[in-house]
Amino acid sequence: MTASRRVLVTGLATYWGGRLARALEEFDEIEAIIGVDTTEPTHELERTEFVKVGHQHRLIERIVEGAEIDTVVDTRLVVNSLTTSRKVAHETNVIGTLNILAACSAADSPVRKLVFKSAAHYYGCRQEDPAFFTEEMERRDRPGNWIERDIVEADDAVTEFAERNPRIAVTVLRYANVIGPEMRTPHMRMLALPLVPMILGFDPRYQFVHADDVVHTLEHAVIRELPGVYNVAADGVLLLSEAIGLLGKRPLPVLPPFGTGLIVAPLRQLGLRIPDEMLDQLRFGRGLDNRKLKATGFEYEFTTREAVLKLREHFQTARIVRAMQEPYRYQHEVETFLRSSRHVRERAGAAEQPE
């Protein structure tokens, strides 16, 4: 199989889509990067082309065929049940995934590789779980919350697609809880509190992955050929109390061990929003076996502990940095002008080359 040259990133406006496209721009052997999404990208991109389109499979199929895309990277998966409504999440995770798969499944499709960003939510957190999930462990029970149900359905659809289309190398990456300065997840919110709530009598095992490593793994999957399912989680599993200690905060075991769900509802009203799937994790925790991906030659930049320590630095400097940053705004006309007008001068690096 040939290396990726023409890449389609679905979900360009998501944090991961934007960061991945920017990372792929650095590779000269990738000649075309095209991103699709329903909203404008939030990352400044140089040569990535943005097409404002949903996940209707006919439209994506036309883009795929028109641009002769050989690699599709699907970064749209919603794992945060707080920022997205149930309906939108289902639409994105299940219907969207099926549409993307449909767009790649035509017999004469130029697509040779599909990278799907899944999540460790696939495994869930239950009492009878092993301490480290490996990739071949299937989820047998029906998840008790809708976000996990959707993720399991999407993940299953992709693995089934892989079986039916052996000509396409399908990579499924299941990510542990991501932490990093720009993450807006329920866990990040909880860890940012001065006193971090825990369930009384429980100290779950947590494995994180740093946001930079997430981008590196997506990039690794595009550059290399890795068919199959891979867990992505940093080395090392921490106890939640240990992680809280590393952040220089104090644990606050206030959530009752019995009837936790009843207490959580009023807490949501007060601003401490703990979704159901997180409640399971606060009780039983989750660990992943990350060796399969490491065996392909991938090296993590951060261990779980280092990622948490990095987060501590961020929390300490967050206020100063926030004042300095100005958000990027996508302006279609300006972007088109900068990319296609012949009056735009080449950038410093390119200008030095003789015509």
Binding site: F132, G236, E242, F284, T303
Partner: protein, 298 residues
């Protein structure tokens, strides 16, 4: 372990297992490195809590209360994964802690012991925090495999399980059924040695006179024993042990690596080995009991 296995295994072993062994070795190298700044490992085991418990309780019970005597500690391999299989009884059985301490005290190269416990504890408040910190791991086949094969550790299992702890005083040292032989399968898959262990004394130290089934249901506990001190003294009564004399005997290991790679899927062989382990423990227990003159003085 892999080299060791290669020398023990008969030469006619199918060649397809060779890459499997190689792969296992390769995966072993990819295990996360131990971070020296941490006092807690990836399973949740805490050196500090363990040391604290050792100083305050375990050491006292081991030396002065139970006056533990150990035989055959050299049967515990100095390296490589090994599965220790022991008899089990009592309210909150002290046998696991004493076996761990015995290896720590008597073995020429002391190793830490991981104890397989019921998944139940993972869902019970406080137990779920305390047990992993002192080396208890939920008895999931994948956990056993990772400990035995990948991390090459010592693992202790009580195949009688909850049925063992439910035993009443009158049924002491009568071995219950050894599950479905899951422990044998785990050892075979990992190519680990099985070391049968006999403990005499533990079943008198924490005698159970009655199992209160309705209270078990009411409290959601795994079992609700009535002992000389529990529930009368509250949760502390769980460690109100009687000063029985302890004897621990480690028996000759059974090497599962020599049985070939397909042994784990051979139900008959698994059952035979499980029966063999059970019979050896029962035999040695009988011998140890017949030699014993007093429960309290040995």
């Amino acid at each position: 372990m892999a080299q060791e296995r290669a020398t023990i295994a008969p030469p006619r072993r199918p060649s397809k297992s060779e890459p499997a062994a190689e792969l296992a070795e390769q995966m072993r190298e990819l295990l996360p490195a131990i971070e020296p700044d941490r006092t807690i490992d990836d399973w949740g085991r805490s050196e500090r809590v363990e040391a604290l418990l050792d100083r305050t309780l375990v050491d006292f019970f081991y030396r002065y209360w139970f006056r533990v005597e150990v035989e055959g500690v050299e049967n515990v391999p100095a390296k490589g994964g090994a599965l220790l299989v022991s008899n089990h009884a009592g309210a909150l059985p002290p046998d696991a802690a004493m076996i761990g301490k015995a290896i720590h005290e008597e073995h020429p190269s002391p190793r830490q012991l991981n104890i397989l416990v019921e998944h139940f504890f993972k869902g019970f408040p406080l137990f779920s925090m305390l047990l992993p910190r002192i080396g208890c791991v939920a008895a999931h086949p994948a956990n056993a495999h990772r400990l035995l094969c990948d991390e090459e550790q010592l693992v202790l299992v009580f195949p009688e399980g909850a049925k063992g702890t439910e035993k009443l005083y009158s049924e002491r040292y009568k071995l219950r059924r050894f599950g479905r032989g899951g422990f044998v399968v785990a050892a075979m898959k990992a190519g680990a040695k099985i070391v049968p262990v006999c403990v005499v004394g533990a079943e008198e130290a924490a005698p159970v006179f009655y199992q209160a089934r309705f209270l078990k249901k009411l409290t959601g506990l795994l079992y609700f024993p009535v002992t000389p001190t529990f529930p009368w003294l509250g949760p502390l009564g769980m460690i109100g042990y009687l000063p029985a004399k302890f004897r621990i005997r480690f028996l000759e290991p059974i090497d599962t690596a020599g049985m070939g790679p397909d042994a784990a899927s051979d139900r008959a062989l698994v059952q035979t080995v499980a029966q063999e382990v059970r019979a050896r423990i029962a035999e040695n227990l009988d011998e140890m009991l017949s030699q014993r003159r007093s429960v309290w003085f040995g």
